[in-house]
């Protein structure tokens, strides 16, 4: 039994390894992009739209709303990153209902890659919004003494992102695997259902945390409110 899909290697040439994680990811990517392409190819702007378009619009609008609620006022700028993060993790996790499927999110390499993506995205959006100096200044807030703690915070939260997702998904797969050998009839199904819930919750948590980090980076310190002038 494999703990990680990384261990299933299809092809190896020195450093380059094509394993199950990459193949599954490509499959999911193909599914997402292909599905999106097929549906958005025939988008309508009228009042009558297709059901697929309606479903897609609900998803996109829902993500937008979530981003806005998390503190980013113009969600369409961030939906490309955050929405893809959520959809990829969610689809990868929901795939556990398929037989012989091993989610790529159960690989620490994948979750580390996603966490690194968030780690990079935070300064990317922050600098894009406020400029390099202003962004770097946030590490000195509220005082310069906080600089090492801020740096540690950045590093640890990235690590926590990666390990949290990996641990939850891997453990779900592990439990199913162990239960299959003990009582192969009912418990794996129940655990799979639980795994679906856990997977969606993890996708939500991961993307909301990413949103919060980005929001913290792009948010300018609010200017002091002027006192109301009494007449």
């Amino acid at each position: 039994m494999n703990l990680s899909p990384d261990e299933v290697v299809f092809w190896r040439y020195g450093f380059v390894t094509i394993n199950l994680t990459l193949v599954t990811t490509w499959g999911i990517m193909l599914l997402m992009v292909g599905g999106s392409f097929l549906i958005t190819r025939k988008l309508k702007t009228g009042l009558l739209i297709s059901r697929w378009q309606c479903a897609l619009e609900i998803v996109v609008q829902g993500i937008n709303t979530q981003i806005a609620e998390a503190g980013l006022p113009r969600p369409e700028k961030y939906i490309g990153f955050i929405g893809t993060l959520f959809l990829f993790i969610a689809i990868a996790n929901v795939g556990i209902v398929l037989p012989w499927y091993q989610p790529p999110t159960g690989s620490l390499s994948t979750t580390a890659a996603l966490a690194v993506a968030v780690f990079l995205a935070v300064p990317f959006f922050g600098i894009g919004k406020t400029g390099v100096l202003a962004y770097l200044k946030t590490y000195l807030q509220p005082t310069f003494i906080m600089l090492p703690f801020n740096l540690i915070s950045d590093a640890t939260r990235t690590l926590a992102l990666a390990v949290r997702l990996f641990g939850n998904i891997m453990s779900g797969g592990m439990i199913v695997g162990i239960l299959l050998s003990i009582s192969p009839l009912f418990f794996p199904i129940i655990m799979n259902v639980l795994g679906l819930l856990t997977g969606l919750v993890q996708a939500y948590i991961f993307s909301v945390l990413a949103t919060v980090y980005i929001a913290a980076a792009v948010a300018k310190p609010a200017p002091p409110e002027p006192l109301p002038v009494s007449n």
Binding site: V16, N19, S36, T40, S109, T110
Partner: protein
């Protein structure tokens, strides 16, 4: 539990590629479609609101027009009514006036006709009475009647008074002192002597009398002295009768009353 760094890098690139592809194929088109639809709906709502405003304005305009039209209609109706009333009144007045004129004209014509008929009737009656009287007296005329007439005449001469008597005497005196006696029948000698005696008593002197017969007198005697005449004869009576009849039946007053019409008509139909 170990990290394959190649996989990490590959997954990172995979993810970035996925982000780009999803942006390209999902988010941008869907968001653009939503935006376009929202714009379209907003435009339609604006359009609908504008149309509603326009419709409201048109409706108000139409109502205003309707009210104006109603008012104008009422005014026109009232004017037409008043004019018709005035016209009717005028026509009625004219008709009444015409009727009055006609009635007056008719009444006048009626009255004239009535008067003419009355006159005709009176004249005819008078003529009839006279001719009947004349005929009766002519039939009755005889020597005996002549004697009676003479007696009456003598009585009248004897009782002659005043201006008549004086006039006759004056005429007699002025003339040839002769008296012309005319009678319808020839008088006998006694009658002539009686008359002469009466004349003598009247005048006071002997009068020479000439006796002639005049059948046109029918009955009666005429004395003529120098143009002055004393007569008691039927033609005289008839003339007197005629004049008194004419005096007794003066032209009738105009009779406009409708009650007299049946009587007149009754007269006319007879």
């Amino acid at each position: 539990m170990e990290i394959n760094w190649f996989t990490v890098v590959a997954q990172l690139l995979n993810f970035l590629l996925l982000v780009w592809l999803m942006k390209r194929f999902l988010y941008q088109p869907v968001l653009a479609a939503i935006e376009a639809r929202e714009q379209k709906i907003k435009a339609q709502l604006n359009d609908a609101s504008m149309q509603k405003t326009e419709a409201q304005a048109e409706r108000e305009q139409y109502q205003q027009k309707n009210a104006d039209f109603d008012q104008r209609k009422q005014t026109l109706l009232a004017t037409a009514h008043a004019e018709a009333q005035a016209e009717r009144q005028q026509l009625l007045d004219e008709a009444r006036q015409d009727a009055d004129t006609l009635r007056t004209k008719q009444a006048t014509a009626h009255q004239q006709m009535q008067e003419k008929m009355h006159d005709d009737l009176t004249h005819q009656t008078r003529q009839t009475v006279l001719s009947l009287t004349k005929k009766a007296l002519t039939d009755l005329a005889s020597a005996g009647l002549e004697a009676q007439a003479l007696a009456v005449f003598i009585g009248r001469i004897e009782h002659l008074q005043g201006t008549e008597k004086q006039g006759f005497i004056d005429a007699f005196q002025a003339g040839a002192k002769r008296v012309q006696v005319r009678s319808a029948f020839a008088l006998s000698a006694e009658q002539q002597a009686e008359l002469a005696a009466a004349l003598t008593a009247l005048i006071g002197t002997e009068a020479a009398c000439t006796f002639t017969t005049a059948p046109e007198l029918i009955s009666g005697i005429t004395l003529s002295a120098n143009g002055y005449q004393l007569a008691w004869s039927v033609p005289n009576y008839l003339a007197e009768l005629e004049s008194s009849l004419a005096a007794a039946t003066p032209p009738r007053e105009p009779a406009g009353e409708s009650e007299s019409e049946p009587e007149l008509r009754h007269h006319a139909s007879n």
